[in-house]
């Protein structure tokens, strides 16, 4: 979708398009909202008109309900809303890659560490496609320094430094977190050890024991995308990264532990043979730099370096050895997937935050490398969770695509390499790709040479020969399949409406896991009324988060005022029955229309005689 101005809607008033379509069939013409909008505001009739992008029901009923709630309240305050329904991958393409929306409602994968806000909000990424800053939010003088300061700190100091970020976010609203769903899954008791590892991560599928020595683990996903594409670089195929986590190893692995005091998220050695020590950096050898800018920082002040030793004799699924060169390649490649061959660098549309913390990598020998981060240890360790890619596969892929160097372009976030499903999904992870059938299944097999299976390695290992992810779009039917023994576990989290359907049976185990994802409303802050903070604030006051968690999630969700996990939220932002900064204007789910309209007027907008909100002051 290319929104150039010579587009076919040029010069056509959207209303005349509507009229021409007679029965009111408005086609979202190539979805070029920007073009359409600028045309609309030139017309006499300039009611504010917004496009709201979201995904349909199959596996996402709550998203639909939130979108409808918002649509209803926006219409009530005199804003024209068009909902654009998109399949999951088309939705992400529209929002993350094309930035072709005014508002969207969806689930954010977030992360266990609040540093995901760095990539979500840093102005450097406002122009990039991918999970980095889809809001195109840019506030370099105020926001960027706050984001940078928090990542250089650790422990209590970092907790203090993150507070101003969250407060500013609550005021500025490039996006508004709505609620965090409780993460429920069901598993068949045929296997033992569910819940030892988080099922959104690789550890959830390792170390499982079955009495009958079952050979196959059968997991259900509500989402068809893993059966189509498992490209680890793609921003649109898998939000959570569970499949990538199984196919690829990373230096460190996330371990989630829950006890009475709360939830702890630790990054522990995985492909790294032993724990790393972070030490202040002495100096940086500029020739080895993977920094993004041309001017390499030679001032190593505040940076940390860790020496990481890889496990020896590990191989990728095709038998090639895993070496420090592959690790160094991975970090450089994620920063520029064109490896310097394109006119401008082409960073991957995911892992942007993780790799941006890495300043420098020095390869010492086949198994040892020194990683320098411009961050504290917490953010530094998060950087160690990216998938390690085989250099020999991806380097070949780049060269195949270059062909003619003169005309070579690698449009960031959308060029072939980061979208294709044709690159062999070879990693070094505990499971290897076997086959997939579109919309039906993804079939993985155990990688017998994985290091976790060695006698001297005390880590959970793949216990089954086969791991199959079958697509089943309904949570209700997924639950009954697990109950009947037709499947072993629901890998996707269950929709809230189906949680009451979980049977009270000894064959089925209900698993509740700590959650860090959240539902949110995203704004395109680049153009239109959504570029005004006051407008965004007024819109967020139309959302009754408390009511949403009660009625749409049946209590299986927590309303949010901040997008980070509870322990990071400062007291003054804590949920107190309402959003402390932008409370819902109304009571018990019904909007106080007069007061809400007053809020938009206070934001600098005005109403015409027909009660429609207008764009002009």
């Amino acid at each position: 979708m290319n929104c150039d101005t010579t587009d076919h809607v040029d010069g056509i008033d959207r209303r005349s398009v509507l009229a021409a379509a007679g029965a009111g069939l408005s086609f979202s013409l190539s979805g070029c909202v920007d073009t359409v909008q600028s045309v609309v505001s030139d017309a006499e009739d300039d009611q504010i008109s917004l496009s709201l992008v979201t995904v349909p029901d199959d596996g996402n009923r709550e998203t639909v309900r939130i979108a409808r709630h918002l649509e209803q309240n926006l219409e009530a305050v005199g804003i024209d809303v068009t909902i654009a329904w998109r399949s999951r991958s088309e939705f992400l393409k529209m929002v993350l890659i094309d930035h072709d929306f005014d508002l969207y409602v969806g689930r954010h994968p977030a992360d266990f560490d609040p540093d995901f806000l760095y990539e979500a909000l840093h102005s450097t990424y406002a122009e990039e496609s991918g999970w980095q800053n889809p809001f195109q939010y840019s506030n370099p003088t105020f926001f960027d320094p706050l984001l940078e300061e928090q990542r250089r700190a650790d422990g209590d100091e970092r907790r203090e430094r993150i507070k101003p970020v969250l407060r500013a976010l609550a005021e500025e609203k490039p996006f508004d977190p709505i609620c965090r769903p409780d993460e429920y899954r069901v598993a068949n008791t045929r296997f033992d050890g569910w819940g030892d590892g988080h099922l959104a991560t690789r550890r959830g599928y390792l170390g499982l024991e079955s009495e009958a020595d079952a050979e196959r683990l059968h997991a259900l996903v509500t989402d068809a995308r893993p059966s189509q594409n498992v490209n680890p670089l793609s921003a649109t195929v898998d939000e959570q990264g569970t499949i990538t986590d199984l196919l690829y190893d990373s230096l460190g692995t996330l371990v989630v532990t829950e006890d009475d005091e709360g939830v702890a998220y630790d990054v522990e050695p995985w492909l790294a043979a032993e724990p790393w020590e972070w030490e202040p950096t002495d100096e940086i050898d500029a020739s080895e730099s993977v920094a993004e800018t041309d001017e390499t920082k030679t001032d190593a002040d505040g940076m940390l370096t860790a020496t990481v030793t890889l496990r020896e004799d590990c191989t990728f699924h095709d038998g090639e050895p895993v070496t420090a060169e592959d690790v160094a390649f991975t970090y450089q490649f994620l920063k520029d997937t064109a490896r310097g061959q394109s006119a401008s660098p082409s960073p991957a549309p995911r892992y942007r935050g993780q790799v941006s913390a890495v300043e420098n990598i020095e390869v010492e020998d086949d198994y040892r490398l020194r990683i320098t981060v411009d961050a504290g240890t917490e953010v530094g360790e998060r950087a160690l969770t990216v998938p390690i890619l085989p250099r020999h596969i991806w380097w070949n892929e780049i060269q195949d695509r270059i062909g003619d160097l003169e005309n070579f372009r690698a449009p960031q976030g959308r060029w072939g390499l980061v979208e294709t499903n044709s690159v062999s999904p070879i990693g070094s992870g505990p499971f290897q790709f076997e086959s997939q059938s579109e919309r039906t299944y993804l079939h993985l097999e155990r990688f017998d040479d994985h290091f976790s299976r060695r006698d001297d390695v005390d880590l959970p290992e793949p216990t089954v020969d086969e791991l199959r992810f079958t697509v089943d779009p309904g949570s209700t039917s997924s639950i009954s399949r697990v109950e009947s023994g037709d499947a072993d576990v629901t890998s996707s989290l269950l929709e809230a409406h189906s949680i009451s359907d979980i049977p009270d049976s000894s064959d089925v185990e209900r698993l509740e896991s700590p959650s860090w994802t959240f539902y949110h409303l995203g704004f395109n802050t680049d153009s239109g009324p959504c570029s005004k903070t006051s407008f965004r604030q007024a819109v967020t006051q139309l959302i009754d988060k408390e009511r949403i968690t009660e009625k749409m999630f049946y209590g299986h969700a927590t309303p949010l005022s901040s997008p980070v996990t509870d322990e990071w939220v400062p007291d003054d932002l804590a949920w107190d029955g309402d959003d402390p900064v932008t409370p819902f204007i109304g009571t018990d789910g019904s909007l106080n229309v007069a007061a809400a309209r007053a809020a938009f007027e206070a934001a600098g907008f005005r109403y015409d005689d027909d009660g429609r909100l207008r764009d002009r002051y």
Binding site: M1, A21, A23, G24, L25, S26, F27, S28, S30, G31, P56, D57, D58, R61, V64, R65, R68, T82, I83, A84, W85, R86, S87, E90, E438, R439, D472, P473, G474, T476, S477, S480, R481, S484, D486, H497, M552
Partner: protein, 281 residues
């Protein structure tokens, strides 16, 4: 899961077909069929081959169609919703468990039976034209339907109207989702092929009311039930159903124009004839 649902479907439909054949077709017709089946098969063979080819093409095309549709990107979900308002919600408000059970049965079993039985009933007629018209109309439904699916993306009510939670097929009977998603994509709702095929059968049953008077009534009831079921269960919009009826009408009319226009045997006959005349010269 899918296997069990499929077996159940086959058993129920076979039972229905068996009973209906005994009731509507009758023994004497079956007796004549036994002697005349070769001729009738030969008459229906060309259109059967076309239909099978279209169905095979259809199953392949459906893999590609959604990608193509997203490129064309005529997303009608919101306009349809705005246009017809809350009709589906009103319809669902009439829900009771037994009504839901009735329409779920109609949507799955009634529909398949409605499509299968007339092929047998018409095969048992000495005149093969109804059979050929039926198969031609099926072919047209699938062909025109597929073209519309390429151009129009629309999600059904169940996907975009969260208010519909009481009588959804896949919540009440989740096992059917395995069956229907083998053949349906959730973006392909305009027009309703369920409706168009069912109504096609009803319309043709009206034309053959002379040999099959009771079947005419049964097919009318089934056709209407299937059409309502698609809306009641939140799968289709009323507009999809209207479009389905129009598609059925067009298919039946076209079928009656097309059938008998080209005859493969006559064409072959003329070929051999001309060869023979050539030979004689």
């Amino acid at each position: 899961m899918l296997g069990r649902v499929l077996v159940q479907l086959v058993v129920v439909v076979m039972l229905l077909v068996f009973v209906s054949t005994a009731l509507f077709v009758g023994r004497s017709r079956l007796r004549t069929t036994r002697s005349a089946w070769r001729r009738r098969l030969r008459a229906a063979a060309p259109i059967t081959i076309v239909l099978v080819a279209v169905l095979l093409l259809n199953s392949v095309a459906r893999q590609i169609v959604p990608d193509l549709s997203w490129i064309i990107d005529w997303n009608l979900t919101d306009p349809i919703h705005d246009l017809e308002g809350e009709f589906i919600i009103w319809l669902q408000a009439q829900a009771t468990p037994s009504v839901t059970a009735y329409f779920s049965f109609m949507y799955i079993y009634g529909y398949v039976f409605l499509l299968v039985f007339p092929t047998i009933a018409y095969f048992a007629l000495s005149e093969t034209r109804p059979l050929r018209e039926l198969l031609t109309a099926y072919t047209l439904n699938y062909t025109i339907g597929l073209v519309l699916y390429v151009f129009v993306i629309a999600y059904g009510p169940r996907n975009v109207m969260p208010e519909l939670v009481d009588a959804l097929l896949y919540d009440t009977y989740p096992q059917y989702q395995h069956l229907t998603r083998q053949v349906n994509r959730n973006t392909n709702v305009f027009p309703s092929l369920h409706t168009s095929l069912a109504v096609t059968v009803s319309m043709l049953a009206y034309r053959t009311r002379e040999p099959y008077p009771i079947w005419n009534v049964v097919a009318a009831i089934l056709g209407v039930s299937v059409a309502i079921s698609t809306m009641y269960l939140g799968i289709h919009w009323a507009i999809d159903v209207v479009a389905g009826v129009v598609l059925a009408y067009v298919s039946v009319e076209l079928a009656s124009i097309l059938v008998g226009r080209w005859s493969v045997s006559a064409w072959m006959g003329s070929r051999t004839l001309s060869l023979r005349t050539l030979w004689r010269r």
